[in-house]
């Protein structure tokens, strides 16, 4: 099935080439950051979290919004969405991977990132954020891969996948709630120090622009 991504028209190759150039530029800048330090980001004590974390937050909402495509078929039996479910799941996988990568590039000592798993700290919301994001990634990988394989074999989707998909729908609400909890409990950020932040983020993340990113 991989040959569908590797073979195409010259226009397709030009587009992929353009994306590769952008990836190469990003990679070079990241290697520079690894060698020199986070000072190149321009962040400071007052702005200790900048574009990296704001992009991470946006993509968490995007990953959760994949659920908007899955919901109509599984909860409301809306047939036209049946074959779009996979699309929603793979978009969520891509968004989840980007979330985790944004965290990796933002922390000052990325080689120590396994410390969050080696020294679990349940009182820290960042620990729970890691758990729910990786769990959502795993769920979507499992469901998306199995359903895609079934589609390739022109077989119906296996029945045991359905509970995992239902869990992933509920889990999607948890990932952006936990990410909002990250900001809610910070005495150093008075504007966010309110319990209304998580429900307010649901409203923002259900906005039409999130799932519409995949319609195009």
């Amino acid at each position: 099935m991989l040959e569908r991504a590797l073979k195409g028209s010259p226009r397709y190759y030009a587009w992929i080439g353009f994306l590769m150039v952008i990836i190469a530029i990003g990679g070079a800048v990241w290697i520079n950051q690894l060698m020199v330090g986070l000072k190149i980001t321009g962040m400071s004590r007052d702005v200790s979290w900048g574009f990296y974390i704001s992009q991470f937050t946006y993509l968490v909402g995007l990953a959760a919004s994949g659920v908007m495509i899955v919901l109509p078929y599984y909860f409301h039996k809306y047939k036209p969405n049946k074959h779009m479910v996979i699309f929603g799941e793979f978009m969520a996988i891509a968004a989840c991977i980007m979330c985790l990568l944004f965290i990796v590039v933002d922390i000052g000592q990325p080689q120590r990132m396994l410390n969050v798993i080696l020294h679990p700290t349940p009182n820290s919301i960042l620990f729970w954020d890691m758990i729910v994001l990786n769990g959502y990634l795993f769920l979507n990988l499992l469901c998306g891969w199995v359903c895609l394989e079934a589609d390739r074999m022109r077989l119906p989707h296996p029945k045991w996948v359905k509970p995992f998909i239902i869990i992933s729908i509920v889990w999607a609400f948890s990932i952006h709630t936990v990410t909002a909890f990250l900001y809610q409990g910070l005495p150093g950020r008075h504007y966010w120090l309110t319990a209304i932040l998580a429900p307010a983020s649901w409203q923002a993340r259900s906005a039409p622009d999130r799932p519409s990113c995949c319609w195009s």
Binding site: L38, S48, G108, H119, T121, S124, M130, P187, G188, R189
Partner: protein
């Protein structure tokens, strides 16, 4: 018969796995145990270290500079001239210090003072609560300490601290020392690496040897340091005699640094 044996073996395997995992989960939830400590008999100990700063005596940037210099010297803090600077002790204006006690007609003398700001070693520290690796932790004597080798540099603690006491090493700290300064680095205290957060540590390495914090000694009596839970300590005595304020009390962090106004 076969089905029952398979079920039993599956169940036994799952139970054995759970028995292996359960004590580790319980240990992780309880916070783990530190290695045994050998205390220095000369060391100072307390149940809750606290500091009282007399701002009627210590109130100008010129008076504060020697304290800042000695703190940064013995802890090898680099001098970076940008908004990515690292500071353990620094001067602040009244508006920056007491953001919850402002009014349009403040006493000029109080308003014009420079206040010595540092980590407040809170009793309910938000930085400890949010650290995902327990790299910043509260010691039994109340001091909020840091493990620079465990810190992953996520800066969550910096977002949590309402006082701005924490500094991130955006660049390699040693590149901000001149050749001469590099030779004079204090070998008794480690320099940090880039990508970790640091802050005032109430001179724990000096307390362990029986010495008071360097800024307290350099202040020549303008700063008091002692055990807040001991009613006869010098901090409790001075707190009984003089009116004091703490920074941002409504944040609920219970800071341990008091300011005599």
């Amino acid at each position: 018969m076969k089905q029952n044996r398979r079920k039993f073996i599956k169940f036994a395997g799952a139970a054995a796995a759970a028995l292996c995992v359960a004590p580790n989960v319980a240990k992780a939830a309880s916070g783990g145990h530190a290695a045994p400590i050998m205390t220095n008999p000369k060391g100072l100990s307390a149940k809750r270290w606290a500091m009282v700063i007399d701002t009627t005596k210590l109130n100008t940037v010129e008076a504060l500079q020697p304290l800042i210099d000695v703190c940064h010297k013995i802890h090898n803090v680099p001098n970076i001239d940008s908004n990515q600077d690292v500071k353990w002790l620094w001067p602040g204006s009244y508006e920056e210090t007491f953001t919850e006690q402002l009014n349009p007609h403040l006493d000029d003398a109080v308003k014009g003072r420079a206040y010595a700001l540092l980590c407040n070693h809170c009793d309910n520290p938000p930085c400890v609560r949010v650290c995902p690796t327990k790299a910043t932790f509260k010691r039994p004597d109340g001091i909020v300490a840091m493990d620079y080798h465990r810190c992953i540099g996520c800066r969550y603690c910096m977002a949590g601290c309402p006082y701005g006491s924490r500094s991130f090493n955006f660049s390699e700290p040693r590149e901000h020392f001149t050749e001469a300064e590099l030779k004079e680095l204090d070998p008794k205290f480690p320099t940090r690496m880039r990508g970790v957060v640091e802050k005032c540590n109430f001179c724990v390495e000096r307390l362990a040897k029986g010495e008071r914090p360097a800024c307290v000694e350099a202040s020549k009596g303008a700063m008091y340091f002692g055990d807040l839970s001991d009613p006869e300590s010098e901090v409790r005595q001075v707190l009984r005699e003089r009116f004091t304020l703490r920074r941002k009390p409504t944040a609920g962090t219970e800071p341990s640094v008091y300011y005599i106004i």
